[in-house]
């Protein structure tokens, strides 16, 4: 269950791939929606750790346009509910994430991303 909250924390770590390596781009993903407990305190505490632009982008890739381009100053319940849904209730079960820099493919299967393949990647795959 890769949720967007986790996707927002993942960067490509192929050796030598250190810039423009975030956020990973989704490809051919299958999504499932599952309800999660709403916790406004958690969301407020987590906002400073988010890369907002990357989150908005990732949500759009999955067809969700409910988030504003910038986080609002007033974190009211209506906004927090939307954020809650995007961050915690959208589960990517199948598909892949692709590095925008070196094009390394990180497959997702059964909701588990395979980030281990990066260690065996030869350095000459890096394209810049």
């Amino acid at each position: 269950m890769v949720r967007l909250i986790t996707h927002n924390l993942l960067a490509c770590h192929v050796k030598g791939c250190t810039s423009n390596n975030f956020p990973l781009q989704f490809k051919d993903v299958q999504v499932e929606l599952r309800e999660a407990e709403f916790n406004p305190d958690f969301l407020r505490g987590f906002i400073p750790r988010l890369e907002w632009g990357a989150l908005v982008d990732a949500a759009r890739q999955l067809g969700d346009t409910s988030l504003p381009a910038e986080p609002p100053e007033m974190l009211d319940d209506d906004f927090l509910q939307k954020l809650h849904h995007v961050l915690l209730e959208v589960h990517i079960e199948e598909g892949a994430m692709i590095c925008p820099n070196c094009n390394h493919v990180y497959p997702i299967s059964n909701g588990i991303p395979n980030m281990a393949s990066a260690y065996h990647q030869p350095i000459h795959n890096v394209v810049n």
Binding site: M1, H13, D41, I112, A116, Y119
Partner: protein, 217 residues
């Protein structure tokens, strides 16, 4: 008393490939339970367990803090372990995000100084280096214990990344055995990275002298 997480959904077949909770797991649960109140009060938002195996430990932290109070991310090099971690989270009502990865590699960039609770019960058994290398490559049950020279081959790599990961309120819980040279580990994290430490629990069990050490700023 916080109940030990339920792993009854995992089978004998699972435990042929994935580390079954044992004395080292339980001493880690004891240490976390002992710290439960102060952990709750520190309002942790990001909990990262490295080498989650069955998922027992992260589920336990979920019971301490509550399922919606923090993000629970867990890495393991062993894909079977990632699968078991996901199931155990579900069984115990803690949503754990498993990543099939070594140490914290895919997270290092984004979780710089952002991990509130970092946990590692590493492969700590002293073996030949080749055996530990093979176990890391194989990503199966041998990787749960084969630790190379002084049992430190895998832990050593993480120790240099701990300071980078810990948030201002961050704590790092490490399981170690006597042969790992606990005083040297503590000295190294203090001298090189300025991290304080304390032994939370130690005990002898099944021929091992086990420690749980907690590091913080």
């Amino acid at each position: 008393m916080i109940p030990t997480p339920d792993v009854s959904h995992l089978t004998k077949k699972d435990f042929e490939h994935v580390y079954e909770p044992a004395e080292d797991t339980f001493i880690l649960l004891d240490a976390l339970e002992q710290d439960a109140e102060s952990l709750r009060l520190s309002l942790p938002r990001v909990c990262l367990e490295i080498g989650s195996g069955s998922g027992c430990v992260s589920s336990f932290v979920g019971s301490i803090l509550g399922p919606s109070s923090a993000l629970y991310v867990a890495t393991d090099i062993n894909p079977h372990a990632c699968h078991c971690t996901k199931l155990t989270g579900r069984q115990n009502k803690t949503p754990i995000e498993p990543l099939n990865a070594s140490l914290a590699t895919p997270l290092m960039q984004r979780l710089k100084h952002a991990v509130d609770i970092l946990i590692f019960n590493p492969p700590y058994v002293p073996t030949y280096d080749d055996e530990a290398d093979g176990a890391q490559q194989g990503a199966d049950i041998q990787g749960a214990w084969a630790g190379g020279k002084d049992g430190m081959q895998v832990t050593d790599v993480l120790l240099d990344q701990v300071e980078n990961l810990l948030s201002p309120i961050g704590r790092f819980y490490l399981v170690a055995v006597k042969q790992n040279d606990v005083p040297a580990i503590r000295r190294r994290l203090l001298d090189t990275h300025g991290l304080q430490s304390e032994i939370v629990v130690q005990r002898r069990a099944g021929g091992e002298h086990l420690f749980v050490v907690r590091f913080s700023r």
